[in-house]
């Protein structure tokens, strides 16, 4: 390519950049924070799913325990009456969570689309195919290759590729911006209802675990109260149960899903703010920092919920 051709190409590229929007020139900048948003969202969604799936079990277990303590009959009708969510209601919630997961995954797919790179590679292949066609045709016709045509093929196909690449990058930018703007209201609302419900589910579990502490202590004290008839092994067993219940109680305090959902809410607001901003380097830096904070907080809650389920 001559110097003149290089200069013209540079001017065309600059014009395209200005016309299509400078931000379209670098959609790779927020791949990492969107990936982090996705990773942390997954933890929050899974935690919420665990609480929703667990909500009826807590009521069942509590009911059975109470009936044992009070020496009362257990009936399936009573168990059903105590349930907090019907199967259909659970299904509703799990569907909504599934849509939220898909939303986050699709954001990642778009942000990480390799379309711009594929276009560049394919444009190079196109250039080579045209050059080969020109060379073969000239050879067959028994005449020398058209030097000007040959010189132009490379730059022209590169330009075609770069225009298509810009179009793809702009498409990615627009798709992300649109998805975040359109998703803002339902995601915000979903996080609000999830926050309310997981908080309520957490309180029911807290009530149950708290009661279990008292039951464990009562069992120990009842055995101790037998005086000389106290069985040491049984006493030790009850003491171990007290310790186990208190361990669960301590772990449970850190497993409040509110923290994860609150941080996801903030991260989502940050994502929306970034999309609506001028996307300056500072805007991007703030966005990245917020995603990192979100990921860290979500992991802490996720770890606590996992530890609790393993106790």
């Amino acid at each position: 390519m001559t110097k003149h051709q290089t200069q013209i190409r540079g001017l065309v590229m600059l014009s395209l950049c200005l016309v299509l929007g400078l931000s379209a020139c670098s959609t790779t900048a927020y791949k990492a924070p969107i990936n982090q948003f996705n990773e942390a969202s997954t933890v929050v969604v899974e935690t919420s799913r665990a609480y929703i799936n667990d909500v009826n079990k807590v009521e069942r277990d509590k009911y059975v325990q109470d009936q044992i303590i009070n020496r009362k009959q257990i009936t399936l009708i009573d168990i059903q009456t105590k349930q907090l969510l019907t199967p259909d209601e659970i299904e509703l919630r799990l569907k909504a969570l599934s849509q939220l997961t898909q939303y986050s995954n699709l954001l990642v797919k778009i942000a990480n689309s390799d379309a711009p790179e594929s276009i560049t590679q394919n444009a190079e292949s196109l250039g080579k195919a045209i050059e080969k066609l020109n060379a073969d045709v000239s050879k067959k016709l028994g005449r020398p290759e058209n030097a000007n045509f040959k010189a132009a093929v490379g730059p022209v196909t590169t330009l075609i590729g770069e225009v298509a690449r810009f179009a793809a990058e702009r498409k990615i930018q627009q798709a992300l911006d649109k998805a975040v703007r359109e998703g803002e209201k339902p995601v915000k609302k979903l996080l609000e209802v999830l926050s309310t419900e997981t908080s309520a589910a957490y309180e029911r579990k807290r009530s149950y675990l708290s009661r279990m502490r008292t039951i464990a202590v009562d069992a120990y004290n009842t055995e101790l109260g037998k005086g000389s008839n106290t069985n040491t092994d049984t006493l030790n067993k009850y003491a171990d149960q007290i310790k186990a219940q208190l361990d669960k109680w301590d772990t449970f305090a850190a497993a409040n899903p509110q923290e994860g959902i609150a941080s996801m809410s903030e991260a989502h607001s940050s994502l929306v703010s970034y999309v609506n901003s001028h996307k300056t380097p500072k805007d991007l830096a703030d966005f990245i920092a917020e995603m990192e904070r979100f990921l860290e907080r979500a992991k802490i809650v996720g770890k606590a919920v996992k530890e609790l389920s393993e106790l």
Binding site: E89, L106, L107, A115, A175, G183, T196, S207, T222
Partner: protein
């Protein structure tokens, strides 16, 4: 006070009652009274939570519909991106086919 706040407040009271109960002998009248109070409060909390869940059911239906629409738009965008990539691949394929056809034609002529 919201329902959620009331649920949380009852939760605080229940855990306090449990701590006190655990220090009282099971057969003491005061303990029995506390257990009864605990049972009633717990049931009130359960009913409140049930109400919260019930009231939110319609929200989930709306949210699922809206998110589903946004997700569909994103899938379309991903398809559009694939089409842009595909169109250049198609052009390359076309040029290769033209080359094959030209070579074959010239061989036949020869």
């Amino acid at each position: 006070m919201t329902k959620s706040e009331l649920v949380s407040l009852i939760g605080d009271i229940l855990t306090e009652i449990d701590v006190v109960s655990g220090s009282l002998g099971q057969n003491l009248p005061s303990r029995k009274k506390l257990d009864e109070l605990r049972g009633n409060l717990d049931e009130q909390q359960r009913k409140l939570v049930r109400l919260i869940f019930k009231e939110n059911n319609s929200e989930y239906i709306n949210i699922t519909a809206e998110l589903s629409k946004t997700n569909e738009e994103m899938r379309k965008s991903l398809n559009d991106l694939q089409r842009i990539v595909g169109s250049i691949k198609l052009l390359t394929k076309f040029v290769e086919l033209v080359e094959d056809a030209t070579l074959t034609a010239s061989d036949l002529v020869a």
